[in-house]
């Protein structure tokens, strides 16, 4: 017996499997419309209005985007966010790779070291920010004490000065370098030893091996960490909100923080929606840029077999 379904003729069993398939996938489909696709459309429309929740929305065309371009705080927050991503993500990658290379030197107690370095990544969030506020404390924090004790340096007011606030947040972000380390280590352990043996026979030194075997073989992992790191860094919010409230003098005004203030403190929903789209487009552009560049430097083993 056959049944017609969505323009296809099929047996009864296949028809029932189709129905079951759609039914079981339907929670996601409904959720997608309700919480992703629908809100995206609404957000686009909202960005063309002036709306402060209490009064009815008012259509203003591209006004919000024009204001956005002229808003010096938008420029400042773009600058802060970009510097943060451009400095913290590469450092995160390089430091993680370096630690993984160290761990991979047949050191004893590999699980012990991995655990120690990974713990900070587990507790990301407000706890970390609070803890580091106390570490960074100018007069009684441990960081300035160590600087003074070891090097005789009078440390700066880390979070309270315009020039050190953003670097402080970057330093703090490197505390969770264990995440990158564990990924790189897993990648390193997947590289076949024969490659190194062959290279050594050909007279390659350690640097050559790193440059021509390790890095290319590890490039998919580095690529993944880079993409995820950039996406994460451009959305950074908690450290700025908790530690500095965007100050001093907007030195840590991350885009996400400015968006939050507009939407949920000043209730400028229209303007905040336009900001959200700016952030969205910026993240997409950066991600695409990295993906585009990847064909030049990311090496997948599978490609070689295909040829």
């Amino acid at each position: 017996m056959t049944v017609a379904f969505l323009g296809h003729k099929m047996s009864r069993t296949r028809f029932r499997e189709n129905i079951a398939g759609w039914l079981l996938a339907s929670p996601w489909l409904i959720g997608f419309v309700l919480f992703t696709a629908g809100p995206m459309v609404v957000s686009l429309v909202l960005s063309l209005t002036k709306w402060e929740i209490i009064t009815p929305p008012q259509f203003v065309g591209l006004d919000n985007y024009v204001k956005l371009a002229a808003d010096p705080l938008v420029g400042q927050s773009l600058k802060v966010t970009t510097i943060y991503a451009a400095v913290s993500v590469p450092l995160y990658l390089v430091l993680g790779l370096f630690l993984a290379l160290m761990l991979n030197q047949r050191v004893p107690g590999i699980a012990f070291w991995r655990t120690i370095y990974y713990i900070p990544s587990v507790i990301s969030g407000v706890g970390v920010s609070i803890l580091w506020m106390w570490v960074f404390n100018r007069d009684f924090g441990i960081l300035n004490f160590i600087l003074w004790k070891l090097f005789g340096i009078q440390g700066p007011g880390w979070l309270s000065t315009q020039e050190w606030a953003l670097p402080s947040i970057i330093i703090m972000s490197l505390w969770s370098v264990g995440g990158s380390m564990v990924l790189n280590l897993a990648g390193l352990q997947g590289i076949p030893t024969e490659l190194y043996e062959a290279a050594r026979i050909d007279g390659a030194n350690s640097f050559h091996q790193l440059r021509y075997i390790t890095i290319p073989m590890l490039s998919p992992v580095l690529f993944f960490t880079l993409v995820m790191g950039i996406i994460g860094a451009l959305q950074a919010f908690t450290p700025a909100y908790v530690m500095t409230s965007g100050g001093p003098n907007n030195a840590t005004l991350f885009l996400m923080l400015y968006l939050y203030s507009n939407a949920f403190e000043w209730l400028k929903m229209g303007y905040a929606s336009a900001l959200a789209w700016l952030l969205f487009v910026y993240i997409m552009l950066m991600t695409l840029l990295v993906i585009r560049s990847s064909s030049a430097w990311v090496f997948y083993q599978g490609e070689l077999k295909g040829r």
Binding site: W28, F32, V42, V122, G125
Partner: protein, 300 residues
Amino acid sequence: MRRDIAVEMPKTRSRTALKLKPRKLVAQALALTVLAVGAVIVMIPFAWMLSTSVKPAGQVFIFPPIWIPNPIRWSNYLEVLTLPDYPFPTFFLNTIIITTGCMVGQLFGASIVGYSFARLRWIGRDKVFLLVLATMMLPPQVTMIPQFILFYKIGWIDTFKPLIVPILFGGAPFCIFLMRQFFMTIPFELDDAARIDGCGVLGIYWHILMPLSRPALGTIAIFTTLWNWNDFFGPLIYLNSRNKFTLAVALALLRYSPYGATRWHLLMAATVMVVAPIIILFFVAQRYFIQGIVFTGVKG
């Protein structure tokens, strides 16, 4: 370099270690030194937090700082738990409710949807799955404001619903992806055998696939718990009244003191109590953590 030596086979390692050339030994010692110095740096903030959390108020603002206070004041923890107008046990309970709700919802949502993508053949399946993958790349900012307005209009602000309900619809696309990938590795013959024995579509899901998917389910459970325990933005915008706060929001609130200066000894005691459950979870379920990270990174 030699992964078998590094991880799985300690016996082989000790045998090889004897045969190491002196240059290798130097490299190893150097690596060990670097790792040890790094580990000390990584651990200092933790030690600083623990030390401050048991200081009497008078020993917090002292320079140079004291590492081991005298007397050790454990009652700081009790003080945090009983602060006036700051119901810490309630924050704890709220966080547990939200985290558990999200975890259970995520496990069911992701596994059912993943099951449909992995084991059932239906028209349009692969296109819909591509859409799931596409949403993985989507940062949440553009949907955040309309979602907030939606929940505001239906009166869900200041309840846990906006934080839990969306997850029941399959939740994080990454988890759907992970479940689908895992289900794909289970032999299809099992489904056929179960079908012959009279198992329906849901029977196969529940009796055959779920029991075999413990590693994937464990990874999802751990990561969902972690995300929601640490989540700050969601609770910050959706919860207004103090007795609804989660630990993350409450902890941020404790920065402010009614008397002016931040009470660091109490703040650190509170921070210890917020992060300790997660660190304990990490030690108990470390296998799932590492598995999950490797899965996300290498397969992703």
